[in-house]
C-alpha cells in the first residue's frame, strides 16, 4: 500500500515538473527598473511565442485584400513605425485623412489613434486598418474568413498558432490572429534614449543645447509638458500600476475655418465621435518619443518640421491665409488653454529641437526583435 502511495506521489511530482517545463516562461518586457509594465488585457496575456507569431503576421502582405501591403507598409521600423507621409495611402491607393501614428510604446497609450475615445485596446483598434473600408487601408474586410485559413494552412503559422494558443480547441481564428498582432505591437517598448540615460544619471548623455531645450520644454512659459508630459510624453498614458484612466484630447488652434472654430470636414477630431461642438478639432497628444524621425507632424501631416511645429505653438495657433481652410487658429473658440503662445529666440528654438531629438531611441529603430522576419 505504501509503495502504491509512493508511486502515485512520484508520478504526481513528475507530472508537475513536466508541466512546469512545458509551460512558457513569463514574458520579459526588458524595462528599466523605474518604468511600470504596460497594461495587458486579461484575455490576451503576453508570451514570447505569441509575439513571434504576431511579428510574422505584422509583416505579412497576405493580410491585405490585394496582397500589396502589410501592417508594416504604414508602420516602418526605421521611422519609429510611421510611414513618413502626411497622409497614409491604403492598399488600393485610397488616401487616408490622417497620418500613420508611431507604434513605439503604444502599449502605454490609454486611447488609440488620433481622436477616438472608444478605442482602448489594440485588439479592437487593429480591426479598423485590417478590415475597414472607409477608407480602405489593408482592405481585408471581405477576406476576413481567410485569416483563419492562413493560420491553419501555412505550416509555420500553424505551429506558432498552436503553441501560442495551446489552450484553445480551435486556435486558428481571426480573433487569435489579431491577438497575436496586438501582442507584437504591444511588445515594441523603448526607453533607451539619450534623455532616458541622462535621467538615469549619465550626465554626458545630453549636450548643453538639449539640456537648455529640456528646461524650456518643462517650463510654464512653453507649457509643452501639460499635454506631452510623463514618462511617455503624452497625457493619454496608462500602465499596469495605475487605477486611473487618463485621456486628453486638445484643440491646438491648427485650423479655424470660417472663424467659428471649424476643422476640415474629414478631420474634425473628437467631434466626429461625439457630435459635441466643444469637441471640434480636439486630437490626442501623441507621445513625443522618437518624434525627430516621424515627420511630417500633426494628424494630417500639415506641419513639415519640428521647427515649424514649435513656430505654430509659439504663435498660439496657425494662420491659414487662403484657400478652403483659411482662418486664424489662434482665435479659435475651441483652442486649449495651454496653447497661448510664447516668445522664443531662434537659439532657444534650436535648443528645443535638440531636446526633442534626444528623445530618439536608435535601438528600437533597428532592433531585430521588431524587424521583418520574412527577410531573414
Amino acid at each position: 500500500m505504501r509503495n502504491v502511495l509512493l508511486a502515485c506521489s512520484v508520478a504526481a511530482v513528475l507530472a508537475m515538473v513536466f508541466w512546469w517545463l512545458q509551460r512558457e516562461p513569463a514574458y520579459e518586457w526588458r524595462l528599466p527598473a523605474d518604468v511600470p509594465a504596460p497594461l495587458v488585457p486579461a484575455d490576451n496575456p503576453m508570451s514570447a511565442t505569441k509575439v513571434q507569431l504576431g511579428r510574422w503576421l505584422f509583416y505579412d502582405t497576405r493580410l491585405s485584400g490585394n496582397g500589396s501591403m502589410s501592417c508594416a507598409s504604414c508602420h516602418i521600423q526605421a521611422l519609429a513605425f510611421t510611414d513618413g507621409r502626411a497622409r497614409s495611402i491604403g492598399s488600393t491607393g485610397e488616401v487616408h485623412p490622417r497620418a500613420s501614428m508611431s507604434l513605439v510604446n503604444v502599449a502605454y497609450a490609454s486611447r488609440l489613434t488620433w481622436a477616438n475615445p472608444l478605442l482602448d485596446r489594440l485588439e479592437d483598434q487593429a480591426l479598423t486598418p485590417l478590415l475597414g473600408d472607409n477608407p480602405i487601408e489593408m482592405g481585408f474586410g471581405s477576406h476576413a474568413d481567410e485569416f483563419a485559413v492562413l493560420l491553419e494552412s501555412d505550416p509555420g503559422y500553424a505551429a506558432l498558432t498552436r503553441a501560442a494558443f495551446s489552450g484553445d480547441k480551435n486556435p486558428y481564428s481571426l480573433l487569435n490572429g489579431v491577438r497575436a498582432i496586438s501582442a507584437f505591437v504591444r511588445s515594441i517598448v523603448s526607453f533607451d534614449t539619450p534623455y532616458d540615460r541622462y535621467m538615469a544619471g549619465d550626465d554626458d548623455a545630453l549636450g548643453e543645447a538639449a539640456i537648455r531645450g529640456m528646461e524650456l520644454f518643462f517650463s510654464e512659459k512653453l507649457e509643452c509638458f501639460h499635454c506631452h508630459g510623463g514618462f511617455n510624453f503624452s497625457d493619454s498614458t496608462t500602465h499596469a500600476n495605475t487605477r486611473v484612466d487618463p485621456v486628453g484630447f486638445h484643440n491646438t488652434g491648427l485650423y479655424n475655418v470660417g472663424g467659428e472654430g471649424a476643422y476640415p470636414e474629414d478631420n474634425t477630431g473628437l467631434f466626429d465621435m461625439t457630435g459635441e461642438r466643444r469637441d471640434m478639432g480636439r486630437f490626442k497628444a501623441p507621445s513625443l518619443r522618437n518624434i525627430a524621425v516621424t515627420a511630417p507632424y500633426m494628424h494630417d501631416g500639415s506641419v513639415a518640421t519640428l521647427g515649424d511645429a514649435i513656430s505654430h505653438y509659439a504663435r498660439g495657433g496657425r494662420l491659414v491665409e487662403q484657400g478652403a481652410y483659411a482662418g486664424d487658429g489662434r482665435l479659435s473658440p475651441y483652442k486649449s488653454e495651454f496653447v497661448r503662445g510664447f516668445e522664443l529666440s531662434d537659439e532657444q528654438s534650436r535648443d528645443l529641437v535638440a531636446f526633442l531629438e534626444s528623445l530618439t531611441d536608435a535601438t528600437v529603430l533597428s532592433d531585430e526583435r521588431f524587424s521583418n522576419p520574412h527577410l531573414d
Partner: protein, 236 residues
C-alpha cells in the same frame, strides 16, 4: 417575404446601365405583423436560414458583381418566419441591431452578426445599412449606424445618435407582398451628374448625410427619429 432594390419604383441591379446598384445590405430586427385591429404580433424568424436569428436578419441585395464588385457574392433577399395564424395587413420592423448585440465583440458573434464587412470597428457597432449607387463616373453611398457612442468599445454605455429606423408599412400582406427599398428616395437631392462621387458615414460633420437621413425619418442635427421614412414601401 422578399426585399427588392428599386430606383423610382422599378427594380435596380448591379449590372444596370446608367444608374446601377453598388451596395445594399441591411440589418432588420424586431419584426412584427399588424392585424386588422392594428395589434402587433412578433414574427419569429427561422434559424435554419444562415442569415437569420429569431428576431434579426441580414438582408443583402448585392451580388458582388459589376458595380457591386466590392461586395459579397451571397444574396440574402428574403425572410422566413412564423406568426400565429390570422389575417395580417401591416408590417413593422427596425433597421438596426438591438443595442446589446450591437456593441458586443463582432469576432465571436453569431451569424449574421459575424460579417466583418458590416461592422464599424472604430465607431463600435454595426453598419445598420450600407447602400450605394454608381453611374459611369459618379456615385454616392451611405453607411448608417449608431454614432456618438460613450464609454469604450468593450463597454459602451449609450449613443447620442442611435440612428435606428422604424419602418411601418400598412396595406401589406405577408403572403403576397414584398418590401421595396427605393434608392432614388434615399438619395433624393444627390446630384449624379456632377462627377463628384460622394458619401455619408453617419458622422456629425458630414453635411452630405442630411438628405438621406431625412429620407429615413432621422433629423441629422438632433438624431431624433420622429420623421416619416419614405425609402421602404409595399411592393407588388
Amino acid at each position: 417575404m422578399l426585399f427588392v432594390a428599386t430606383w423610382n419604383g422599378s427594380p435596380i441591379t448591379c449590372a444596370d446601365e446608367g444608374i446601377a446598384l453598388s451596395d445594399l445590405r441591411l440589418y432588420v430586427s424586431s419584426l412584427q405583423l399588424l392585424d386588422a385591429a392594428g395589434i402587433a404580433h412578433d414574427l419569429q424568424l427561422h434559424t435554419d436560414i444562415p442569415w437569420q436569428q429569431p428576431d434579426l436578419a441580414l438582408i443583402d441585395l448585392e451580388n458582388g458583381q459589376d458595380a457591386c464588385r466590392d461586395g459579397t457574392p451571397g444574396l440574402f433577399a428574403y425572410l422566413v418566419g412564423g406568426v400565429p395564424p390570422g389575417e395580417y395587413r401591416g408590417l413593422r420592423f427596425t433597421v438596426g441591431v438591438p443595442f446589446e448585440r450591437n456593441h458586443a465583440n463582432p469576432l465571436i458573434a453569431e451569424a449574421p452578426l459575424d460579417d466583418q464587412a458590416m461592422h464599424w470597428h472604430w465607431r463600435s457597432g454595426y453598419k445598420f445599412l450600407r447602400a450605394g449607387v454608381r453611374t459611369q463616373d459618379d456615385g454616392f453611398w451611405m453607411h448608417l449606424g449608431s454614432a456618438g457612442c460613450r464609454g469604450t468599445v468593450r463597454d459602451i454605455s449609450g449613443c447620442r445618435f442611435p440612428n435606428r429606423v422604424t419602418v411601418e408599412l400598412h396595406d401589406f400582406s405577408p403572403n403576397s407582398d414584398s418590401i421595396a427599398i427605393d434608392l432614388k428616395a434615399l438619395f433624393d437631392g444627390v446630384n449624379f451628374d456632377d462627377g463628384l462621387p460622394g458619401d455619408c458615414s453617419s458622422g456629425p460633420a458630414e453635411s452630405a448625410c442630411a438628405a438621406p437621413f431625412a429620407a429615413l425619418g432621422i433629423d441629422f442635427e438632433t438624431g431624433t427619429t420622429e420623421g416619416r421614412q419614405n425609402v421602404f414601401s409595399t411592393y407588388r
